[in-house]
Amino acid sequence: MLQYVARRLILTLPVLFGILLISFMLTHISGDPTDLILSPDTPDEARELFRRKHGLDQPIWVQFYQFCVHALQGDFGNSLRFNEPATKLVLERLGATTELAVTAMLLAILVGVPAGVIAAYRRNTAADVAVRTITLLGQAVPSFYLGILTIIIFAVWLRWLPSGGRGTWLHLILPATTLALNLVALIARTTRSCMLDVLNQDYIRTARAKGLGESWIVWVHALRNAFIPVLTVIGLQVGLLMGGVVVTETVFSWPGVGRLAIQAIYARDFPVVQAVVLFFALIFVGVNLIVDLLYAVLDPRIGYR
């Protein structure tokens, strides 16, 4: 198994390198940060000093070389805006984002999987229709809109929940729900179709022939099998989740990496953008590695090859 992990990690190296390369190029063709960080009426002399201080006056390939050398050590340089190490800025906010993303993911799984199971088992009944409707809403409502809507309803009208910020678990409810809705849709849908597949399998018939109870068959025998493809979807969702936090964190003033990222992009704060992208990629790769390992736990047919 260690070998498997090692092998997987080696395979991710080119991926990470590619991601760094792309993010470097993207940020550097997207404009001069001095314009964005210094006010427009700053004299040229001061601009030059700023550029020199941050190495922006060097030829692009020199910058790239420097960047690679430092990136390998986890150093993306100082944020142009904050004058602090980009890595530090990201790490400071990673906890908040993780809290939000993990909660949203758990929520999505805890709602989406049972919903999908029920929809599959009670195919074409009211429960199925309800699940499909929620799935549709999850696909049709933009999360920024949903976010604002929930703020107005639950914070302003009903006064049940705070409108934003991070703090108690009450603060977590609205952003996590908003973030989860899109995920729920896909998870429920996938679970439903996988369950439909599995419920038709011979071994389910075998389980019935043994005289096992229906709920045991559905929630243990069937779900354990159906969960494997669902897990893949969940792993891939992490990528979407990372995109989703950008919007959700902005709407709910959540002090996370997504908000940092979008501000950094707007400000062309290269080091921060690169650090964020790399961290997101690492998380994605890491989560998917875990997913792969979980596969082997859930599905004994898959060895650590």
Binding site: D35, S39, P40, D41, P162, P255, L260
Partner: protein, 479 residues
């Protein structure tokens, strides 16, 4: 009690001379104070850490400091601290953001413990403005921790002391028990919350989570008007909204023709925009880029009236009886309702036959193009230089980085005004400049913005300034 303030963004640094962004300054200057400040009420120049200044000649200023003031780490606030702060301030590498204001400063010398002499490179009429932006930091602590760490955990003389800061979440300050002046009443603690979404900011105020919310969208503001627990504070902003009409040679377009530029001014119903998009909460420009109380404001000038017929006639005279097509750039998300205003203006121009190809720009790209003089031939901008006619008008000087006009006459007036230390003469120069600009119509004169703050009724005497700054001196928070 605790006062919670919701702004758009988390400060990048709490060292006020680190950036010019108002969200930073509002928080930073509650801890670190400047020599002077401009009172939002009277727009008057008042002493803070200094007690007075005196122009020894056109290029030498003698500043007297307040006695007995200490930084919260017990370092004394004295001439040494000012000299130290001054030297950092004029170092363009350390405080590039202030490079334009610090440019006239040449050097400083300590006269005695509470007196310093500042030398200027050239006569500089808005010297008060410059002095009000020099923030005084304790040299001992500064040298110990360095510029970056200072910004993360500043020590100053202000009414509040830094407590904790969870990035992008909350910045907590406690009242400074040893404050040299009068502490705001009832505020033991200020919590600064960054809330980027306009609606969320307003929502949080409605629910009582925030006591002060800045920079509200006009739609949210309207709603808050009916809130019994909070009051809406509209503050006319220094920001002047206009549509650039480039007349530069290299930007060939129908706008090269003065008549066309005037025609466009006639074609836009500014009052309708103000009334409908801002619910009346904006100030129509009087055909000039200076505001009513500003030095140089020309009371004799009138705005271009809304007159589409006249506009068509002028267009016809200029050789465009059927109008023309033109590119129109504008940012989305940079200014209040920038997108709506742009769409409204474009709609109005269509009525007189000018079809616009609208190009929306992401704010970052917008700023880049502004500076690179690429916002041609026509673009929506809101310029907010510091509160001085020269800083305002010199943006139309042909040598200015993003001036989209080239008028030797205007250049001459600007150059004259820049050095004129005599107030009355200076007023006349800028009035002439305004008259000239109205006629040349280098821009479509739109409106002066209004910033909206919402403040809980518990807070009395909240003061906000047209540059997005607000202060807690003299405020009172009820239990």
């Amino acid at each position: 009690a605790t006062l919670t303030v919701a702004q758009n963004f988390d400060p990048q640094t709490l060292w006020p001379n680190g950036t010019t962004a108002s969200d930073n300054l509002n928080a930073g200057s509650a801890i670190v104070e400047a020599l002077f400040w401009v009172d939002p009420h009277g727009e008057e120049f008042k002493p803070l850490l200094a007690t007075s200044y005196e122009l020894e000649d056109d290029t030498a200023v003698l500043v007297k400091l307040r006695e007995g003031v200490k930084f919260t780490n017990d370092e004394p606030m004295n001439a040494d601290a000012v000299v130290h702060s001054f030297n950092v301030f004029i170092d363009k590498e350390k405080s590039p953001a202030y490079a334009r204001v610090s440019d006239p400063f040449a050097s400083i010398e300590k006269v005695d413990d509470l007196t310093v002499r500042i030398k200027l490179k050239y006569p500089f009429p808005p010297i008060e403005l410059a002095l009000s932006q020099l923030y005084i930091t304790p040299p001992g602590y500064w040298n110990e921790v360095g510029l970056e760490a200072y910004g993360q955990k500043p020590v100053g003389t202000g009414p509040f002391v830094f407590d904790t800061w969870a990035r992008d979440d909350r910045l907590v300050m406690k009242a400074n028990a040893d404050y040299w002046g009068k502490l705001p009443e009832g505020i033991d603690e200020i919590v600064w919350r960054p809330v980027p979404d306009d609606i969320a900011r307003a929502a949080g105020l409605t629910t009582g989570e925030y006591d002060v919310a800045s920079n509200l969208a006009v739609t949210s503001a309207m709603e808050l008007e009916n809130n019994p627990d909070a009051k809406l504070v509209p503050v006319p902003s220094y920001r002047i909204y206009q549509i650039i009409l480039s007349s530069l040679e290299e930007h060939k377009s129908p706008l090269m023709d003065k008549k066309v530029r005037q025609a466009l001014n006639y074609a836009v119903d500014k009052q309708a925009i103000i009334d409908n998009l801002f619910f009346g909460n904006a100030v129509a420009l009087k055909g000039q880029v200076l505001r009513e109380p500003q030095i140089g404001f020309n009371p004799d000038l009138e705005d271009y009236p809304y007159d589409p017929e006249k506009a068509k006639q002028l267009l016809a005279e200029a050789g465009y009886p059927d109008g023309f097509e033109i590119t129109y750039k504008f940012p989305s998300g940079r200014y209040a309702q920038d997108r709506e205003v742009s769409e409204a203006v474009a709609g109005m121009l269509t009525e007189v036959g000018v079809k616009t190809n609208m190009v929306v720009l992401e704010p970052g790209e917008f700023l880049r193009q502004l500076r690179a003089k690429e916002l041609q031939p026509m673009a929506f901008v809101g310029l907010a230089p510091q509160d001085d006619p020269d800083l305002q008008v010199s943006q139309y000087h042909s040598s200015w980085r993003y001036s989209y006009m080239n008028s030797p006459e205007l250049d001459a007036l600007i150059d004259a005004g820049k050095q004129e230390m005599d107030r009355d003469k200076r007023v006349q120069i800028y009035r002439d400049a305004m008259t000239l600009m109205r006629d040349e119509a280098p821009i479509i004169f739109l409106y002066g913005g209004v910033d909206f703050y919402a403040v809980t009724n518990r807070l009395e005497n909240f003061m906000a300034r047209g540059d997005g700054r607000f202060f807690f001196y003299d405020t009172r928070l009820q239990e």
